[in-house]
Amino acid sequence: MSAILIRNGRVIDPANRRDKLANLVIVDGRIAEKSAIRDPQSAIEEVDASGLIVAPGLIDMHVHLREPGFGHKETIESGARAAAAGGFTTIVCMPNTSPVADTPSTIAWIKERAAAAACVNVLPTGAISKNISGEELGPIGSLAQAGVVAITDDGHCIQNNELMRRAVEYARMVGVPVLDHCQDYNLAGNGVVHEGYWSTLLGLPGWPAAGEEAIVMRNILLADLCDHPIHCQHVSTAGSVRLLREARGRGVKITGEVCPHHIVLTDEAIENFSTNYKMNPPLRAQADVDALLEGIADGTLSILASDHAPHADFEKEVEFDAAPFGIIGLETELSLFLDLLVHKQRKIDIARLIEMYTVEPARLLKINAGTLSIGAPADVTLIDPDLEWTVKIDKFESASRNSPFDGWKLKGRAVRTIVGGKTVWKL
């Protein structure tokens, strides 16, 4: 029997409405009662968690692991290590790989690779349309059987509303939620940055907020029509927040997620054409940032994620137009959110932050994670909420370095990550 005793931490377990100083016991890879430690002679690993928060293992439901096909950017193995270093015990990977994850065999490949090489739990998603081309439905039922936790065309967005409607109806039948990257291709055009003051000033093609809001609206209508959950990924505009708030107020099954870069940066950052500020959706204006913060505070936006999008140096180190979209995020997201939402702006307390990383995604994806209930798998994240540290990307676990946060001084950090009772990372 293996046992771990985590002593004196502040145990925050939103699923069980718990927030108090307590000890946490892990036996044979599961959360256990204190009384479960029967044999006084057996070796008990003791972890001193004074001053730390003991939370259920955090879940990041928007990660690009790039395998199969793009291993030069990241692998399932390196991405998992990056997740562990960021305090995450479960990550959900996106299907825009090569080949696209639109067949059960690719899903099986991913699951095998993860089982062999990943130090955290990796849950795959499958494509909505064949080859993510937005033209024909993919084999959603077979993908569900193969074990995907959701379907999404992330990176792309189905433009044909009729096709999307049928996909949502079909997904309802098999019981998987639909995740959507909300982008109207015609409105967005060849925009590479937010359409606003800065795009006008710099002469860069702009991607107007309406380009996201048009699809958010589409998804609200379809979630209502089909009575099935649709999740809007990386929400970035004030208008989207307003639409989600109104729809959720009526009980529509629509959720929204926020990525840290959309609240810690604005489009002003593109001034020097650095491609580490080029992402999709783009950085928006201060008014959008303010609306996202309000949306987090009032629960309209209920899930936090990174949209971890690794790219190799030679791919990002090109002229702005030509660079691929995206930045890595697993190793900075928790700290960025803690620093801004909890410490600086006080929009939410730390218990809610943890809830947005555990209960909320677990509920949407219907997975057995995100709690410290007795018997649950021992996925635990220890967080030092007050630890001040400086981001040094050359020390990252990720295989890529495309992050704008190098040198940032942040307050709060994960200090130990436990998966299935085993410490997979510690500071």
């Binding site: 606003g196 003051y197 006008t200 000033l201 710099l202 002469g203 860069l204 093609p205 020097n272 054409f273 030679f314 180190e317 090109v318 002229e319 702005f320 137009d321 030509a322």
Partner: protein, 310 residues
Amino acid sequence: MSTGWSRKDLLGLRELSAEEINFILETTDAFKQVGTREIKKVPALRGKTLVNFFVEPSTRTRTSFELAALRLSADVINISATTSSLTKGETLKDTARNLEALHADILVLRHSSAGAPQFLGNRLKASVINAGDGAHEHPTQALLDLYTIREKRGKIAGLHVVIIGDILFSRVARSNIFGLVKLGARVTLVGPSTLVPREFEKLGVEVSHKIDNVLPNADVVNLLRIQHERQRKEYFPGIGEYTRFFGLTKERAKLLKPDCLIMHPGPINRGVEIDSEVADGLQSVILDQVTNGLAVRMAVLYLCGGIATT
């Protein structure tokens, strides 16, 4: 005597101070004089190598830079996108690094991506001169426009400059806006609302979609070329409609003050943004712009090229 210039690159007018812009214009006076000598050549950049790297093609601007460099006694190489190894998949950065390994001292870059000159300027020891980057900036064009206005009207501050055309996609417009506003001119942009959105007002200029109201109190009218290319079809319905609403026709030209200057960066679409007669008329300084362009580029190459090695 120390100079008012310390930059190795000329990337745009947005980051220059009014003093720096004026300094370039004063330096241009000296180089314009060289064009009147019997031997139109000075040794200022002798032994230096200038590469005209025109990823986006151009004959006029490239020729102007080439001539400017030759008059400064520099050695000139011309590379275009098709003759470069960019076609073989080499990145911009690698291509430029290779040029630097051949000891290129000055790189004049025209590229369709905004920010490309800055990208190279940050990575190369050579001077990088922006000859136009996407819709972002075309600093030497704006400088020669400013120089021409100053030459003909004696000043910039207080003049009302009207820029007409496809502003949204125009690097000439942006650089002119930055330069004119910094030097104290009053600027009005005119064109279809799809190509001249009100957002531009945040740059310190006025926006109008009614050309006839604006022309009578203009001191300078700068006409931009209207692009025929099909990607603009969502922005306005075609050349005919454009000319009817925004073209500087003979009739409209009568609304102008007699000392109002008519400018155009070229090449002109006769009969579209400007009537043929008006382009050749007394108020047109279009050819002066070309002559001044040569002098401005000599000044810019002298100033930046002199810094790179010091």
